[in-house]
């Protein structure tokens, strides 16, 4: 790590950052995921949401690629990004402060459309539709009790085709079969004293909410595994109810397991769910690997060497589905550029790079981005 640190220091003003000791490979490797995009949230009101790209074939970390790929843009990607996903041959960035989803061509990162969705939070996909969760509630009357909305977007026309009202301040979603599961947070309701505690179930054939499953307060992240488990994290109520992680069986729509695990962020890879938790009250970070077959936490360590202390403020986690390399983002002081750290599947430090402000989401790309 000392080597990495000196390397970073010596190159803090240069854009590309090569991992230390990483020589370009001689033989041509064919990657299923030749690179990844990283979304930097940027602070709200600063218009500093940026997009980085890392290429596994030439090991080049490119910072803030959006302006160069989109010279017609005035402000860059926008204000305060919240979600980033790859679907088909497109890249979707949910930019919360800009109230839009930017849909980009995966090969060029060129913006194809910006779909305006007020207070948009997260995105999920099925067939030719994207589903975007939003805190907004159009045409509301009772402002203190406004429910959130899921917007259904046609990924070929980039138009909103339908909306569906869900719980309070919906965050992430997961799709299994023909059901869309929505984690309702109630994040705006701390002032009323009650967070939302339920997961909404939407039947995608009718696009209607058919059920609400009682889980835990302040639901946040969601993931789905191959066995039809919906993993949903609760941030607790920041006083007497601690954070937890629940498993919902998608077919019975019942909570089948509740783990005493803080999953502030999570990433599914194969049969393992990688989680991290950040407890801001005592400023501690925890990690965990959960086996989806046993629904048990099999390890509370992801980083196996002594480099974990280099991370100041863990803000995101992503596991490469192909190599199982683990990526952890560090938001540092939230006001200056953060870092992304790469670890091998064994948890050994591989490399680190400087990102934009508040690095959060990583989306592995199926197409190598053109230069």
């Amino acid at each position: 790590m000392a080597l990495a640190a000196t390397f970073i220091l010596s190159s803090c003003h240069e854009d590309p950052l090569l991992p230390p000791g990483w020589e370009p490979e001689q033989k041509e490797t064919v990657y299923k995921y030749p690179g990844f995009f990283l979304l930097n949230e940027g602070n709200m009101g600063s218009d500093k949401c940026t997009l980085d790209y890392y290429d596994f074939t030439d090991n080049e970390y490119q910072r803030n690629i959006y302006p160069a790929c989109n010279p017609q843009a005035v402000h860059g990607l926008g204000d305060c990004g919240n979600d980033l996903k790859v679907y088909g041959n497109k890249l979707y960035a949910v930019v919360n402060g800009s109230n839009l989803v930017d849909i980009m061509d995966l090969a060029t990162a060129r913006s194809l459309a910006a779909v305006s969705i007020p207070n948009c939070r997260a995105i999920a996909f099925k067939d030719c539709y994207a589903y975007v969760s939003s805190y907004a509630s159009e045409g509301i009357v009772d402002i203190a009790n406004a429910l959130g909305t899921i917007y259904k977007i046609d990924t070929t026309t980039f138009k909103t085709v339908a909306t569906c009202t869900v719980g309070y301040q919906p965050e992430e979603m997961a799709i299994y079969g023909n059901k869309l599961f929505v984690a309702n947070s109630g994040g705006y309701r701390y002032d009323n004293g009650d967070y939302d505690t339920r997961v909404s179930v939407i039947d995608l054939s009718t696009f209607k909410e058919v059920k609400k499953i009682e889980v835990a307060p302040n639901l946040y992240r969601m993931a789905v595994d191959r066995l039809g488990h919906i993993w949903v994290s609760s941030r607790g109520n920041y006083s007497d109810v601690p954070a937890s992680l629940s498993v919902i069986d998608a077919s019975s729509e019942k909570v089948i397991k509740k783990l005493d695990v803080d999953a502030t962020g999570m990433s599914m890879a194969g049969d393992s769910l990688y989680v991290y938790g950040y407890d801001w009250k005592d400023n501690t970070t925890s990690f965990g690997i959960i086996d989806i077959n046993t629904l048990e936490c099999v390890s509370d360590k992801i980083i196996k060497d002594d480099t974990q202390s280099d991370i100041q403020s863990v803000y995101g986690i992503a596991v490469n589905p192909e190599s199982r390399d683990i990526f952890i983002t560090d938001a540092k002081d939230y006001m200056t550029p953060g870092m992304v750290y790469c670890y091998s599947r064994e948890g050994e430090f591989k490399w680190a790079a400087i990102t934009g402000d508040i690095p959060s989401r990583i989306a592995f790309s199926t197409i190598k981005k053109k230069k």
Partner: protein, 675 residues
Amino acid sequence: MKISNLCSYFALTVAAIFSAAASLFADDNLFPADTLQRLEESVVVAYRQPEKTIPAQTMQGETLKKLNSLSVADAIRYFSGVQIKDYGGVGGLKTINVRSLGSQHVGVFYDGVQIGNAQNGQVDLGRFSLDNMESVTLYNGQKSTGVQSAKDYASASAVYLRTRKPVFKEGRSYSIATKLSGGSFGTFNPSILWEQKIGNKVSNSFNAEYLTTTGKYKFTYTRQDGTDTSDVRRNGDVRAVRVEDGLFGDMKNGEWKAKVYFYDSKRGYPGAVVREEPGRFRHEDRQWDTDFFTQASLLQEFGRYKINASIKYAYDYLHYLSDPRVDVSTMYVDNHYRQQEGYASMSHEVEIFEWWDIDLATDWQYNTLTADLRDFAYPSRNTLLAALSTSFRFRKIKIQASGLYTFVHDATRVEGAASEARNKLTPTAVVQYIPFDNVNFSLRAFYKKIFRMPTMNDLYYTFIGNKNLKPEYTTQYNLGTTYSNNWMYGAFRKIDLTVDAYYNEVENKIIAMPTSNQFQWTMMNLGFVRIFGTDVAASTNISICDKAFTDVRLTYTYQRAMDCTDPKSLWYKNQIPYIPWNSGSAVIGLTYGRWNLNYSFLYTGERYNSTANIPENYEKSWRTSDMSVSGTFDIRNAELKATVEVNNIFNQRYEVVRCYPMPGTNFKIILTVSI
């Protein structure tokens, strides 16, 4: 409200001004010969210059009026060492940062009594008018003249706003000045200043002002490919009423003042200009403010002993509304905050020998804050301050040393939520050396350590506040020289030159940090800043002929403000946000008879909007030029002054704060009738 009464009142004022203007054109005698003499009479109003022991910059009535300034904040931009935060428009928040210590370290005193804001520690200088202002003075360190309250010792730097004490023409018992101004952004701003003599020793000054503006202006951004795109800044509208009444009394070897101040406003908050679908979201956050205070002070001399007593009560109300029915993208916020403040001060000065004074001041202040937030702590704060100061005046050397003791005790309605009580003793030392007997040249130095208490928002705001916060300390070291001279004849009539170099430290800087997500932030004592700087100010008065003279005022500031919080950080020792390395100003006034031409220029050099001094965070330098022309005419017994202002003449596109574009070229016309 009294708006309807006010409207009819202003209609009358407008009618009066137009009839006055009509009579102007009937008047043949537009240029009386004695104009210059008369002008000089009106400039100097028994004003006591601040002494030069401590760096101080002052602007007086006429100078202030010549600047194209709408408020006190606009005028202070022309002082060296000052950076102003300006979010654009007439109604946007304007706060000042002196020598990079942070805006909450600037004390603002109105007629000798501090204007507080226990809630957030920031005084919006955009809300104080220059209409009734006699002088605006900025002190680095602390004021070092006269018998002063403990509060005068209690901030790292201080702005003193001094309202005009009524002065009457020979044989007159009143004077009335009505002003009407209007211009770009749909701005309409009438005001009246009515000064009345009540007996021999008492006079009253009544000042009222109404301001309305749409706040709309066009701004332009350049895309990455070099093409331009324009939009209109909306929802920056303001309606404000300010009414003040002051009584000024003279006594044998003393004086007293009493004042009532009322301000009521409603305004929009336009928010940051960020990427989004143009025109879809209205960003209509709104704020209502009602501020009221009343204060009185008394100064009495008994030979070698002087006493000063002050008392104040203040009430501030703030209502903030973000309504998702108006703008679906926002979070619903509807909060009401009420602050009250009680203050009393007693200070004494004893002149033991002609060369030795001892001062003792004791202040008490009580603050409360209520808010309709869930789990709100309902804090109240008792502050006791005691300052002991001594000064020695020898022929070549002046020394002042003071110690300030502060005791702060907070209580909350919710048990156990209060921050622990604080006891602090903080010192200041000031030295001035005058090496030559017949040259007005001096060397000066000061050292000051002081802190600011965390504000009630920092400590108690539901979820965000952190009751364990420690006070934020500043330490200042200053070395400087001054030179001044006056001449009765020749071209140069006056020269003033000051150069100061300083080193400052800010410890335990209070910084907002997000917690587990961006919706919830908390406050922490995290920052450590080191600042090296130089302030230069020069002014001169050049006589061109009997009728014409020019005033020139120049300032330059260099600041190296380093974030030294974390030696392991990649951005260690980078320049702190929004502090330019170089900045400066120039004000040039040309007076010919009763005509005046004024040019003012501001320069802010390159800077970064974040401690990470990287190209993405780079903010370009900007320079603005403002110009005004005014003429004064007599119409029978009245005097009419007409001013035309053009601001940002070269239509500079700039932002003081990222995502808050500033207006381009704009205009204003001001008519003042005085009787």
